[in-house]
């Protein structure tokens, strides 16, 4: 009897222990269930923290004085501090409070540390990011800054603020994602902000098209690359300078080229939020605006994500009094305004990346040839910690050109301006305080990467004078004997960077006679500009549309109103369709009855990519079929079908000016096809495909039924994502939405009323909070989807109007 009791006791004790252990360890992808479901400290705190306390006082060490943070009805913090230090301390605190996981995850991506939290499937991604070396270079840069550096002081104050929040929140109050993944944030540090900045630069400016062009050149020939990927758009502007110098033989080993593209592609989905698909900004001056003062509109087109890419904030205190959007993890307002000046950026898209084919010593793989001398690669061992697995050591080799991005097939190094840091934070800190265009311009002196087209409007109420300007600003390398459009020989030393375009030579336009300026990632300078800046410019359809809208509205009404600026941002007219359509309609004048119905639809179309438009669906389907029918055969023959095809402006040029171009010939058939043959073929295929998919022309062909916008959570979890939502627009509309399932577009819309900035409007697709249970997780998304804006608050004193104050946080010096 007693023996049985002992057995029962032992068994129940073992079961008790086993169950506690079972609840304490992760099972497969699931986090430890005990921690997760723990009533005090488990996931439930996510719900508890969804709404901030209406009034809260926190004592934190390290402050100069007290800081007041007022949250408005959108959860936007309006920070009032006495000193610069406290201002940025509080900025770090609220960034962490709302977006700690986002900051942490993006830093880990940049630093190649995702495997630590996500496991072995991210080792290769991490190895690539370690090879590129954003964190390594950032550490090097931060180590060069002296304690007296203002930028470093701000970065440190910001990091202290982040760490104050981490300490106060404790593991119990960490965001949901930490609990699901079973880790906690490490202390923040200035180098992490710099690394995040480097990630943004990587996303916006490190491009691998040189490798693609090299492979295309080897497949299709140099003449084809020059014709189809010209330095400048073929229609309105002739090339600035002749295309690049080439040696004989293949441009890049196909195995090496594809290895680079594959490895770079590993992080493509992860840096997608930062991959620019183009942006808009435009400004009208006081003579052309209905207010008599400049008006600025800006909408950077970046990928959609939740938590949102941007964080909206007012910073008032010390030397600052600014409003706008920041990237969580970095202490600066990048797009926004102060009481005197507003700025918005579009990506310049300059060619700031080159690839060098290194000659490696056959008997010593750690040596390479440069100018007839063998040199040692700089070798670094990077250790990647892997969750649930053994550490992985990655050997990173660097030549004087940069890190080796492949050693398969041949050895190729990547040279990129992003490795040569300026002080981007320093520049932003300076421009946030600028009161005039000259002051803003001076701030740009230390802005190196990514090169941006800065649209600026300034207004001095005292003198009633204003300025509008657009300036393409960044580090633009000057190459010796080459444009560097394809991989270069690294051994000879004949194709090196020999300097940079000087600051005063950057493209710049100030107060033009037209009274307005616009940038939409198009060619930054006209044919008279003496330097090569790049070639991968936007085809210019958005730029043409903005200029046409501004010009026509001024011609019609005399001025541009604030409302006009808002309306333009939502414009869905496809000017490419406008320019291609006459040729398409002409080529299909003779058609089958079912095709004629569709053709009539196109003929009556107003070129708006509206949700309810069937013609929009026809056009979009037709265009991509036409591209494939024109180039697909040659691409397949050259075995480069996985590589990019020409931009629409190049195709438009062929359609408009070279109807007998050999590119229109289908090399797989005996007869010689011409433009109209391919236009007809693509149109017939389009009608057949849509009919097969949706039946006869009718409501089922509506664009919104084929075309949606999706806002995916950083983790990819469906429950935390939003959409798909039926939507209008396409690749080239001012309100863009590329592809059938658009995952990018206007990530922030802002229209600023200079002289009365408090009367400005903004909106972005998401919300301030990273907590999916917070009302501010996606509260602006609904507004954004409806094409509406919110009126901002930009108080001079720490008070908000009645009914607009949601919560107050006082940070007191401990």
């Amino acid at each position: 009897m007693r023996g049985r009791l002992v057995l029962k006791e032992v068994v129940s004790l073992l079961f008790s222990i086993a169950f506690v252990v079972l609840l304490s360890i992760p099972i497969g992808p699931l986090p430890p269930l005990g921690e997760l479901l723990n009533p005090n400290g488990g996931v439930w705190t996510t719900a508890e923290n969804a709404v901030l306390p209406a009034a809260e006082e926190v004592r934190v060490p390290g402050l100069d004085g007290n800081v007041t943070v007022l949250r408005d009805a959108w959860g936007i913090p309006h920070i009032f501090a006495a000193t610069d230090h406290d201002l940025f301390f509080a900025m770090g605190y609220v960034h962490a409070q709302d977006r700690m996981f986002q900051m942490d995850l993006e830093y880990r991506l940049a630093a190649g540390r995702l495997s630590e939290i996500l496991g072995k499937s991210y080792v290769e991604t991490d190895a690539w990011m370690r090879t590129v070396g954003l964190a390594r270079d950032s550490r090097r840069f931060v180590n060069t800054l002296g304690a007296g550096d203002v930028g470093l002081q701000v970065l440190q104050a910001y990091a202290d603020g982040v760490n104050a929040w981490i300490a106060r929140a404790g593991p119990k109050n960490m965001p949901l994602e930490y609990k699901l993944l079973g880790f906690a944030p490490e202390p923040w540090a200035p180098v992490k902000s710099v690394t995040l900045g480097a990630l943004i630069a990587y996303g916006l400016s490190a491009d691998f098209t040189d490798v693609e062009l090299g492979l295309l050149q080897d497949g299709l020939g140099p003449a084809a690359v020059d014709e189809l990927f010209p330095v400048t758009t073929p229609t309105p502007v002739p090339p600035i300078v002749p295309n690049g110098t080439r040696g004989g033989g293949p441009t890049i080993d196909p195995e090496a080229g594809r290895d680079i593209l594959r490895r770079a592609g590993l992080v493509e989905s992860l840096v997608r939020p930062l991959r620019s698909i183009g942006s808009n900004n435009w400004i009208v001056d006081g003579t052309r605006s209905a207010t008599g003062r400049p008006i600025l509109a800006g909408d950077p087109h970046l990928s959609f994500q939740l938590p949102a890419l941007w964080y909206e904030v007012q910073l008032t205190g010390g030397a600052y009094d600014a409003y706008g959007v920041s990237f969580p993890g970095a202490p600066a307002i990048l797009i926004g305004f102060n009481r005197y000046l507003a700025n918005s950026e579009t990506n310049t898209g300059a060619d700031v990346t080159d690839f060098y084919r290194e000659t490696v010593n056959a008997s010593d793989p750690n040596r390479y040839l440069f100018r007839n001398r063998w040199r040692d690669f700089n070798v670094t061992q990077e250790t990647i910690h892997v969750k649930g697995g053994a550490d992985v050591v990655v050997t990173v080799k660097e030549s004087l050109h940069g890190p080796l991005v492949t050693e398969r097939g041949e050895t190729v190094a990547m040279k990129w301006t992003g490795r040569e840091f300026g002080s981007s934070v320093g520049a932003a800190l300076q421009w946030m305080k600028a009161r005039s265009w000259p002051e803003f311009r001076e701030a740009l002196r230390s802005w190196k990467n990514p090169a941006q087209n800065f649209a600026v409007a300034a207004w001095d109420s005292a003198t009633a004078t204003g300025t509008i300007a657009v300036r393409s600003n960044g580090q633009f390398p000057i190459r010796n004997n080459t444009l560097g459009r394809v991989p270069l020989d690294g051994a000879s030393g004949n194709f090196e960077w020999i300097g940079n375009v000087s600051f005063d030579e950057y493209p710049e336009a100030v107060n033009p006679p037209e009274g307005y300026l616009a940038s939409a990632n198009q060619l930054p300078a006209g044919s008279g500009y003496p330097h090569y800046l790049g070639w991968l410019w936007d085809p210019g359809y958005r730029a043409r549309r903005i200029n046409a809208l501004l010009k026509d509205t001024i011609a019609r009404n005399g001025t541009i109103t604030f409302q006009d600026m808002r309306t333009f941002q939502l414009d869905e007219v496809d000017t490419a369709a406008m320019r291609f359509s006459p040729f398409l309609l002409n080529a299909t004048a003779t058609c089958r009855p079912d095709e004629c119905v569709v053709r009539d639809l196109l003929r009556a179309w107003d070129f708006r990519m509206a949700k309810d438009s069937a013609a929009a669906t026809v056009w979009h389907t037709f265009y991509f079929t036409f591209v494939e029918d024109t180039f697909g055969d040659e691409w397949a023959r050259a075995n480069v079908s996985d590589l990019r095809m020409p931009y629409p402006d190049v195709l438009e040029h062929l359609v408009r000016s070279v109807p007998t171009s050999p590119w229109f010939d289908d090399v797989r058939t005996l007869p010689i096809e011409r433009r109209d043959d391919i236009l007809r073929r693509a149109f017939s295929e389009t009608v057949a495909a849509l009919t097969a998919e949706d039946g006869p022309v009718g409501p089922s062909w509506a664009w919104g039924l084929h075309h949606t916008r999706v806002f995916e959570h950083l983790t990819g979890l469906d429950t935390l994502s939003r959409g798909p939502y039926p939507s209008g627009g396409d690749e080239v509309t001012l309100s863009p939405a590329a592809g059938f399932e658009a995952r990018a577009g206007a990530s922030w819309r802002m229209v600023v009323n200079l002289g009365a900035p408090q009367a400005s409007v903004t909106v972005y697709p998401g919300g301030q909070s990273g907590n999916p249970l917070s009302p501010h997780y996606d509260d602006q998304l609904a507004l954004w989807l409806r094409g509406e804006y919110k009126a901002i608050l930009f108080p001079t004193m720490p008070t908000l109007p009645p009914g607009r104050l949601e919560s107050t946080l006082i940070l007191r010096r401990a």
């Binding site: 029962k8 079961f15 008790s16 609840l23 479901l37 488990g42 439930w44 979890l717």
Partner: protein
Amino acid sequence: MPAMRVTVRQPWWKTALVGFALTLVFLAVGLWQLGVVAGAVAGFLSRRGRTGAYRGIQAVAPAWVLWILAISLVAPVEDLVLILGGILGGGWGLVVLLMILVPIVLGLFGGMAGGYLAELTMPPEPRPAEAVGLAHENR
């Protein structure tokens, strides 16, 4: 005579209440794992293995569930359950099931262990006459 032996123990709710209070204390200090100890204490006080299992459940599970219900009064717990259901892949039902099942099993095993320990460490059972006498006193 097992029915007579039951009569010498504490009323059931007293043992469960002790375990319940202990569970709340352990949760408050952030040691959910000690829920098993709270269950064991309740089980031990009940003095029998099988009864201990019931008392363990009665001690631990209500504490967990009540705590979460209290949070739900001021926070969108129901939305969280939906989200978590989506993430775990089993829907809200799975979350509710786990939410209830985890403390039940924790209390069950703890209570059993405590109860059997009590049986092992208890003095020998009183003879029937003594037991009857005690039963009268307990009334």
